[in-house]
Symmetry: C2
Subunit: 314 residues, 2 copies
């Protein structure tokens, strides 16, 4: 199957009137697309519009694409009408297998096969969702992070019957559409971002359960400690740059034994040579030719901007 150039997409169909579907609708409108929003029942239109209008405030502040307008939104409860002329479909229907499977069976019949269909699902696999779809090759997961109109991440993966070219197309399209796409290496429950967040969250619950911290303590610690750096560098590059000349290699070779310390109730992985090398090589690749002092200065400047933004004088 030949998929059209991602830059040629002009109309997007967004299925679903909840916070995820509404968030996607607002995002695509803000990026200058024509959007048809499918709602199960026209009674949901008002709720959808409330979400879109709330999101529009932030999207306007972030900067709208040329020609972007709420006037380019059409809302319908007719699925055939909704997908007509759409160059891409973002599906955010309820997270129930029977609903998704029936929907993809129908979409597979009425949507041309060169149109990629992406599901916002956070808990199902595309293999399961597209079980009854007659044209599963173009079906992928495009999982946003809430709220989807604000946070750029989209985690992308296909199912067993997905064409790898459809996955690559989705990555290219989301990039074009102003998102930060992450092509998943494997199906893994929770994807990447939610798994990482969940590890932190479980530790937070342990601390509250043990009387070591209150919820307020947890939030004070995160907002004033790791988070301002994490938003600027992620965690791998944060450690890489913090270790100076030696980078991630120093971090792992010197502090590796600390993985055995009972910090957190999470069992630590074995720090094999292979794991060490993957971490070191990954960080070196991200650093490229930049010296750590250059990266540290860039980090500092951005943390300053983030702190000013958070305290409200940006």
């Amino acid at each position: 199957m030949m998929y059209p150039d991602p830059s040629s997409v002009s109309r997007v169909c967004s299925i679903g009137a909840g916070p995820i579907g509404g968030g996607w609708t607002a995002h695509f409108l803000a990026r200058g697309y024509d959007v048809t929003a499918y709602v199960h029942d026209m009674a949901e239109r008002e709720a959808l519009m409330a979400i879109v209008e709330t999101a529009w405030v932030s999207l306007t502040a972030l900067g709208l694409a040329k020609g972007a307008s709420l006037d380019r939104l059409t809302v319908t409860d007719d699925l055939d009408e909704a997908v007509k002329g759409a160059d891409f479909i973002q599906e955010s229907a309820p997270e129930r297998p029977e609903i998704k499977q029936a929907l993809y069976e129908r979409l597979g019949q009425i949507v041309p096969e060169h149109v990629v269909i992406a599901s916002s699902t956070s808990g199902m696999t595309m293999t399961e969702i597209a079980a009854r779809c007659p044209s599963p090759a173009r079906c992928v997961i495009g999982h946003p992070f809430n709220p989807p109109y604000l946070l750029p991440l989209v985690e992308i993966i296909g199912g067993e019957r997905t064409d790898p070219a459809a996955v690559d197309w989705a990555v290219a399209f989301y990039e074009q559409a102003g998102k930060a796409p992450l092509k998943m290496k494997k199906e893994v429950p929770g994807f990447v971002a939610t798994r990482l967040q969940e590890a932190l969250w479980r530790e937070a619950l342990h601390m509250v359960a043990n009387g070591e911290a209150t919820p307020e303590d947890i939030d004070i610690a995160l907002k004033n400690g790791p988070a301002p750096r994490m938003v600027v560098q992620g965690q791998c590059m944060a450690f890489h740059v913090a270790c100076g000349e030696g980078g991630m290699a120093t971090n792992l070779d010197q502090f590796g034994p600390a993985l055995k310390w009972p910090w957190t109730r999470l069992e630590a992985p074995e720090l094999t040579q292979e794991l060490r090398d993957r971490m070191v090589e990954g960080c070196n690749a991200m650093a490229g030719t930049r010296h750590f002092t250059e990266m540290a200065a860039e980090r500092d400047a951005k943390i300053v901007a983030v702190l000013k933004a958070v305290r409200g004088d940006a």
Copy 2:
């Protein structure tokens, strides 16, 4: 012991020429204090000044206190000279028990007992550090988050022989000095912030070890997903507000079973009624009288500012 009013502090002694000691020196100078920096050897002066000057760029961008100046720094390798006239001492000596214990033995002799001494230690307890100190009541841990000139968090706890009033004084002083103090409920390895970060870090290492993600994937996921929200709300309030009207109660009552899902390799705590209530009450207390829509709007506005800050147009 009566400790002086934290607002009366005018001279701070910062012990240590490394990134932590140097970072503290820069921070206190930026907040308008006179600072005496103790270095073990005058040969370390140059390295210390390099750290202070690097930090000064960021501190200036964040806004200096009235009268703040690098000219108000004195560097000495004479400990008696260093502590003379100091109203507060921040100790960031090497993390070796014999060094810290000898230092606190001497400080306990030469520093008036109403002067609080805080250690930046990340791995020792104050009980251990002050083992040989003749006046341990005023000795506390004041553990910063790296880099200490930028990240506001300071985690505070005493040892077995610490006067609780000295802990409270340190909390009040750090607040006065522009930090975000967190008074620890219990001695816990890794304190609060580093434990939470470590849980996330271990999960990240597991994902890389299993070929589920590269270090770059980890960083893309964090920077574009959880981090922009975490810096604005922490994790407890992020979930509280995301669950709308129902808040944290909905989060735990509805998604509680998800704690048993194999998301992350971290064993989940038992979601007892007590834990549930602590989480819910903690979030309600933080929310105060604010409606969730108000908090969500504030979150969105700040995430917008953070995203603009990170991409460089703040």
